[in-house]
Amino acid sequence: MGKIIIDGMEVEFTNEKNLLTIIKKAGIDIPTLCYIDELSTVGDCRMCTVEDDKGRMFASCSEEPRDGMVIFTNTRRLRKYRKLIIELLLAAHCQDCNTCSKNGDCRLQHMARRYGIMNVRFSDYRERLPQDHSSPSIIRDPNKCILCGNCVRVCEELEGIGAINFSKRGSEARVTPAFGKSIAETDCVGCGQCRVFCPTGAISIHHHRSWVWDALEDPELRVVAQVAPAVRVALGDAFEIPEGENVMGRIVNVLHRMGFDEVYDTTYGADLTIVEETKEFLERIESGKNLPLLTSCCPAWVKFVGEQFPEFIDNVSTCRSPQGMQSATVKEYFRDPANNPDGRKTVMVSIMPCTAKKMEKERENSYTRGEKDTDYVITSMELIEMITTSGIDFKNLDPEASDIPFGFGSGGGVIFGVSGGVTEAVLRNLTEGHSKEVLHNIVISGVRSDSAVREFTVNYKGTDLNICVVSGLAKARQIMEQVRSGEKKFHFIEVMACPGGCIMGGGQPIKIGRPHVQNRQEGIYRSDKMASVKKCGDNPMVLSLYGGFLKGKEHLLLHNSKFCAKNFR
């Protein structure tokens, strides 16, 4: 509690954890490269250094606020100091900005512009290091690393993995997996959160745009797209569309114009997932076997269970992910000559918020009848780049409806995009009726909340079901350890690797901080409100499929015959 004078302005504070937060609250965008509210504070980059009335300089991120402080954030000395930091960082940074995936979106570049760096006085003597392309999800370029350590802390503190860390020190310091291994040799789950928090292009998405362009130009191919729920509330960020607005209609239009033959909605696959997973859940409740049921939608989580908690492999739902179900079903549909009179080969392009999906599609159990279910996974970011390349004015496009029969999904399918959505959709399916009251009771059961871990109990036909919803694998690890020790007992655990769920996925446009999570969350919940069918099991297109060509093929197309978390065949 107290008052601080910041640049001559009196600012009140209460229990803010550091001076930086108060400065930001006062409307000053203090520069930072290594400070992230959700992570531990390290004070590495020194960009947020401020000066007090006695001429002392200190990093505001690591300074406790005290009543009566007099702080200056923009003095001649500070500008000189910050400029020097940026110059030194640039000197130790390969400056091929024009060919960098982060060009225009790079925090270091932004800082250099902000402080008017026109010249770097120092030269870099270091050898160029090789890039690491071993992971299907991300690419690491150590030459662009500024050693802020954000990726190290995200991987350890949010995801509980710690695949990378600093090695050596001084001018030889690098961020690397142990013993200079490649990312593919570590426990990396491909969630891509490191890429979200990386201020430069040192960690970027392993992109596959050119393959998709090539497929679109091949007349022998039927190129089919599926669009995941979370993509539609984030894509607008790149086109000056209000945050969280659902732009699915425009996505469908732009994909058609780019040459996709069919544009489907992964919400449909999500509906299939819920129908199957609910069945599975009820079977397990009845038999009492393999509880808690662990969700299988998030490929990063599935890999995590396989490697860190192998004794729980049988608890993972045998359901394929919505992407997997959608792809397998669509491909099977076009295998029937009646649906494919010209005999074209079908190519499935999956548009995802997620970098780990690139890994999932390579798994042994992502194949049906010897054919890969999903041919290419491109992230929201890659789709944005493709739209920009095409030159189509996305913002002013008319919305279009996605194609049938796999383009119609329920509200329960849409909410897969947020943490808790899968659980909420399962609960809807378990509950009789779909009146407003019924749906509202589910909402207030505890499934929707801001916390990363939600534990609650619902009653199903006289049985209390203990449910846990988690996002972020570090938190998931804690829960799983409690389950292992017997301290906690659950019937159902939903885990999404990315904090907040797929809306904050590793392939999404970068937005950091609570308000952005809320905007995307609200966008998803608004889309659910707009859906005429709320329950996955009520989706008429799904029902007709079960009565039709899916009959007898449920296991082949919708389930994994065996657990497989590894990346490659």
Binding site: E156, I161, G162, A163, I164, N165, F166, S167, K168, R169, T176, P177, A178, F179, T186
Partner: protein
């Protein structure tokens, strides 16, 4: 692949300091004292045992110059290149040793695992400059000629040991 005895020994060392993250450095020291280097496989094993990630353990091990993933020689020669030793001509001493033992900036240990030559910043023996250490013994006011005598002495000692004569 390391022999099982390495892991058994490591278990003993871990038991001394306890299975906790803060035991990492003392455990690494003891392993290095035992084997004259820190085998990478053991570092990974220790990380798993004390509950830290492999990357974190590697980070700590590489932060300190002292830990080596390469087997070191029986005689580790630390040539001081602190300010006092440097101005009193430590460079010719180091150059002589490297030339004589066929070592360079990238190769620090002889193929027979007998000698390792390292450059250190300061041994804290500035009054004896230029100084060097062979394992725990300090050699003062070195010149290339004295270094030659020293090597001859060490090699002689080694030969005696191999012939079965023990000095101790």
């Amino acid at each position: 692949m390391l022999d099982q005895s390495y892991y058994d020994k490591t278990d003993e060392i871990i038991a001394v300091y306890g299975r906790k993250p803060s035991s990492l450095i003392p455990i690494m020291h003891d392993i290095q004292d035992t084997y004259r280097y820190l085998p990478g496989e053991l570092l990974t094993y220790v990380a798993g045992q004390i509950g830290i990630t492999e990357a974190k353990a590697y980070s700590v091990a590489t932060f300190y110059e002292n830990f080596s993933f390469e087997p070191k020689g029986k005689y580790v020669i630390k040539v001081c290149d602190g300010t006092a030793c440097h101005v009193r001509k430590s460079t010719p001493v180091r150059e002589y040793l490297c030339k004589e033992l066929k070592l360079d900036d990238n190769k620090h240990t002889t193929d027979d695992l007998m000698f390792t030559v390292e450059t250190v910043s300061c041994l804290g023996a500035c009054g004896l400059a230029p100084a060097l250490m062979v394992n725990d013994a300090v050699y003062s006011k070195m010149t290339p000629e004295k270094a030659a005598d020293m090597l001859q002495d060490l090699r002689g000692r080694e030969q005696k040991e191999q012939e079965g004569g023990s000095e101790e």
